[in-house]
Amino acid sequence: MPDTRVPAYPMKRDCPFDPPPELRRIQAESPITRVRLWDGSSPWLITDYPDQRAVLSDPRFSADVRRPGYPHVTAASQARRRRSRSFISMDEPEHGTYRTMLTGTFMIKKVEALRPRIQRIVDRRIDAMLDGGPPADLVAAFALPVPSLVICELLGVPYAEHAFFQRCSRVLVSSRSTPEEAVAAADELKDYLTRLLGLKAADPADDLLSRLVTEQADTMSRSQIADMAMLLLVAGHETTANMIGLGTLTLLQHPDQLAELRGSDDPKLVAGAVEELLRYLSIVHSGRRRVAIEDVEIGGRLIRAGEGVIVATDAGNRDATAFPDPDVLDIHRRARHHVAFGYGVHQCLGQPLARVELQVVYGTLYRRVPTLRQAVPLEEIRFKHDMLVYGVHELPVSW
């Protein structure tokens, strides 16, 4: 019998821009508490910012999805992530071995060098959207293509395949997918990437997949490289796309701040707005998941070896001890210590790239389309309650 006093997780949102009210209530009343998951398990939920950072930077909490007690997001995610493991689900020292093969590519200098290229991609996509409308669906016309084009170029995946990999990716991040659907989508994507790696090995180009397949031929199997490529491709476009779609809608709902952003050519203001929107929206809203491998005391609670832990970073980013007036969107706030990219050794590898993409987008779109507005009222917009990465399914706009 499930204990009905233990609240079910995840919880339902009320306002589409805020974390669920019940999550905020738990955060106020008992920041470390048990919750009940889809499979009847009852891991700990951590909602306060200081304890969240303590958990995520403590090697006694493992990200290994094969360990008993790991709190899986859905049955589909469990089946899929156990089958093909990439470094996001590994612990030290294994995690670091793979991550450092990539950190050179994602370092600030290298990503800054891509800024002009990203600017061109953004400009062209705006041109195309303006040519085809109004109206337009900002998600399909702009938010999804921009990060997809960027990650395709970086990896060396032909953008012509975007309908295929976006479809697979959607199945992987949907909380409605069955385990069979998720495994099939992952297998399909992996087969495709494995074939692509074969082509790159025979005829290397100047891209990340060619580099991995030639330089790491002795350290990684083709299958391992394909798993890594899949992580980069999916993580590299789904998240940023949602920050563009939902971020734009949020700014349209805060016209004063949008006007300020549009009227300024201060790159610092734009960079600050990116950090604040990352904090405020916390789109990776299903919690960072870990399992304790030793008994650990956190915030006065004993978490025993084998118990699961969910770090609700969407709540942490609204913790008033770290962010005064946390429910207020304020693009002038110093928000860089947010946990929207996670914290600890698994903190987002692609964050420098995501930042530059969002800075270019937020710094360009509203200036080039100064009359941009919602074409439908808020009530008609479909939010991604059913996806592991939050956002809007469509954003009908006009200008």
Binding site: S57, T100, F106, M107, I108, Y343
Partner: protein
């Protein structure tokens, strides 16, 4: 302010470089942090302290 770094803990997030490029850089081959100055001038104190606070690897320590 005295700054020390622990390259073994660094995960190459680049956060420190964004906050205080005068003090932190990344190695070309793998993006791991390098310290450009151990004793940066006082006007950089706030940025360096923020870098130490946000560093996801707990790789930056400051004193004084």
């Amino acid at each position: 302010m005295k700054v020390t770094i622990d390259q073994d803990r660094c995960i190459g997030s680049g956060q420190c470089v964004l906050l205080a490029p005068e003090v932190f850089d990344q190695r070309d081959e793998d993006g791991i942090v390098v310290l450009l100055q151990e004793d940066p001038p006082a006007e950089l104190d706030a940025d360096v302290a923020e870098a130490a606070h946000v560093c996801p690897g707990l790789a930056i320590s400051v004193e004084g």
